[in-house]
């Protein structure tokens, strides 16, 4: 990445602040509850509806806000509101990503609406169970959330999590429920994560609608995958690794993502999470040993390579920094599926070199960017100190809270005059730093302890 590219990112694209302001009106109504809107908040919802006028969402949203103002809250109105909010954030996502692509000179494939119909039958009672909990939350408002309202989701969530086709919804709502549970009673909280909870709520409402479009038929690809780095996502009961890489196949050189997610519990933290992903030894070895992988007939859909260890073989060593230097610029990025378009998903791999470091502010030819060191995963070797000592960095550009930040995935650094290199996936086969091995040993093998208990108690 160059200084001029950073310079091109400065400033928020036109309309973004206004669009977010409209969504803020809905988010504020969700704080206090749709059950008692009041004139001012009803007007804010009407403004949101007004912004969508002329779009296919215009009429349903304006009808919904009218009914909400009159005190009627039902599935239909909730769905319309969530749809309106998703449309606004989708537009913000598109504007930001277009700005980023233009700055980086990144070519992005156009979205092609998949042929085919819905994503298959999912149990309707589970979806309606989720919707009714989300409706209750919206009516009560975050300020009205108490232990009973959180616990009301328990049974439905348990059933949703057991349904593989609803994993996205289950993992999302489980994360939201845990945050609400930890914050109960919410009325006594000093400040609320207003946008975040509205984000999670709105996506939950959409994923709980029947007949959500499926992904369509994926393309089948064979070729060579060169990993760039690993982004780790984690809440109390789930962990996901998302591998960013370059795929060379007959379809050209493309930026792709692949990964694995596993359920977990909150006490499994740090390097122990890799143990949960051990069912994919080829992928883990590729990360830990920094090697490329030859893949055969893997489904590729909207830039996501559906991983199958049985169709992958480890190939030669592939330094992610070399991949980034040589191939990042010439690789085509995938289109983002419409239902995933939200600024929080923007995570574009870049290579930063020759920067000067001032705390967490880096500058390149006088242009600055903040580095997000809070996002360094505890399951890998990257530390704020290593990041501060870096001379090169592979990272993801993200946008949140009105600004761009760089999330490091790998660094080359100079420590005590010696070159060192660290990647978030270095410990995919277990920690390699003796100090960390010792620290992890202190809490014992938590995954084995819990699995043993589960085996004993759940199958009695």
């Amino acid at each position: 990445m160059l200084g001029v590219q950073l310079a091109a990112l400065v400033g928020t694209p036109a309309g973004v602040e206004e669009a977010l302001g409209l969504a803020d009106g809905l988010d504020d109504a969700l704080v206090h509850g749709l059950g008692r809107l009041g004139e001012q908040r009803a007007a804010a919802l009407a403004a949101l509806a007004g912004a969508l006028e002329g779009s296919p969402l215009g009429r349903p949203v304006s009808e919904a806000t009218g009914k909400l103002a009159a005190g009627s809250v039902a599935d239909e109105q909730i769905a319309a509101l969530a749809g309106a909010r998703a449309a606004v954030f989708g537009a913000v996502h598109d504007a930001l990503l277009a700005r980023l692509d233009a700055a980086l000179g990144r070519e992005r494939a156009a979205w092609e609406e998949p042929a085919g119909t819905g994503g298959g039958d999912v149990p309707a009672n589970l979806l309606s169970g989720c919707r009714s909990w989300l409706n209750e939350l919206a009516i009560a408002g975050w300020r009205g959330v108490d232990h009973d309202l959180v616990s009301a989701s328990d049974q439905t969530l348990e059933a949703v999590l057991a349904e593989p086709r609803l994993r996205r919804l289950g993992v999302l709502l489980d994360g939201l429920a845990a945050e609400l549970r930890a914050s109960c009673p919410v009325a006594t909280m000093d400040r609320l994560p207003v946008r975040r909870w509205a984000d999670l709520w709105a996506r939950g409402v959409l994923l709980a609608q029947p007949g959500l479009p499926g992904g369509g038929a994926p393309e089948t690809v064979s070729g060579r995958l060169l990993p760039l780095g690993v982004d780790v996502h984690e809440h109390g009961t789930a962990v996901q690794i998302e591998v960013h890489g370059v795929l060379e196949s007959s379809g050209g050189t493309r930026l792709v993502r692949t990964g694995v997610a596993a359920p977990k519990v909150d006490t499994i933290v740090g390097p122990a999470v890799w143990q949960l992903l051990g069912g994919h030894p080829v992928l883990m070895a590729a990360l830990a040993e920094r090697r490329s992988v030859t893949v055969q007939d893997l489904p590729l859909s909207a830039g996501h390579l559906r991983w199958d260890d049985a169709r992958a073989t480890l190939a030669e060593a592939a330094d992610p920094f070399a991949t980034a230097r040589l191939m990042l610029a010439g690789s085509v990025a995938p289109a983002v599926p419409p239902l995933e378009r939200h600024p929080v998903r923007i995570s574009e791999p870049v290579l930063v070199e020759g920067h000067t470091v001032n705390g967490t502010t880096w500058s390149l030819d006088g242009h600055e960017i903040e580095v997000d060191v809070e996002r360094l995963p505890s399951c890998g070797p990257l530390t704020p100190a290593l990041v501060a000592a870096s001379t090169s960095c592979i990272g993801l550009l993200r946008w949140d809270g009105g600004r761009w930040r760089l999330q490091p995935l790998a660094v080359q650094a100079t420590v005590k005059k010696k070159p060192v290199e660290a990647h978030t996936g270095d410990w995919a086969l277990g920690p390699t730093d003796p100090k960390v091995v010792k620290a992890v040993a202190k809490s014992g093998d938590v995954v084995t302890v819990l699995r043993e208990r589960a085996g004993r108690l759940l199958r009695k």
Binding site: R195, G270, C379, V436, A439, V449, L457
Partner: protein, 165 residues
């Protein structure tokens, strides 16, 4: 919205629940702050097949300890806690940090003071069966299959360096 000072409230990836600290799980496999209580499951010191369900209620500090079959713990008396409750409190502090536990239970703990000594409660009934079934539900997560389908919603839940190391 000023780009440099956008409020925490306007962050999509704002952190709400800090990750817990790693700890040994053999003695106290399950600890949670939920339903207005610190509650969890403590292994019996003498019988590998037996566990105790222990809990302390926020504000009143009412405590309870019994086996998962609802037999009261022999170490418990009117105003005195048993070793299981002590272990529960110690592990909760290890897992969540003293501040978070004390805040949840609404108890003030001064420097050098022990959490459980600051809570003068008395024995009161608690739903042991509910806590035990929450423990089983907790364990059931480990039996759910992994997935290779993308979970884009996890972008709202970044991993963090806080807590560990």
């Amino acid at each position: 919205m000023n780009a440099d000072t956008a409020a925490w409230e306007q962050h999509s990836a704002a952190r709400v629940v800090p990750p817990v600290e790693p700890r040994k799980l053999a003695k106290v496999p399950f600890v949670e702050l939920a339903d207005g209580r610190l509650q969890g499951v403590v292994s019996s010191g003498s019988d590998a097949a037996r566990v105790y369900v222990s809990s302390i209620t926020a504000s009143t500090y009412g405590f309870s300890c019994s086996t998962n079959n609802n037999r009261p713990c022999g170490g418990l008396s009117g105003y005195y806690t048993c070793k299981h409750l002590q272990a529960l409190a110690d592990e909760a502090v290890r897992q969540y940090g003293l501040d978070r536990v004390a805040r949840y239970l609404r108890v003030e703990v001064g420097e050098g003071e022990n959490l459980i000594d600051r809570m003068k409660g008395r024995r009161e009934p608690a739903p042991a069966a509910v806590v035990f079934s929450r423990f089983l539900r907790h364990l059931a997560y480990l039996e759910l299959p992994e997935t290779v389908e993308p979970l884009p919603e996890m972008h709202w839940f970044p991993s963090s360096s806080a807590g560990v190391r």
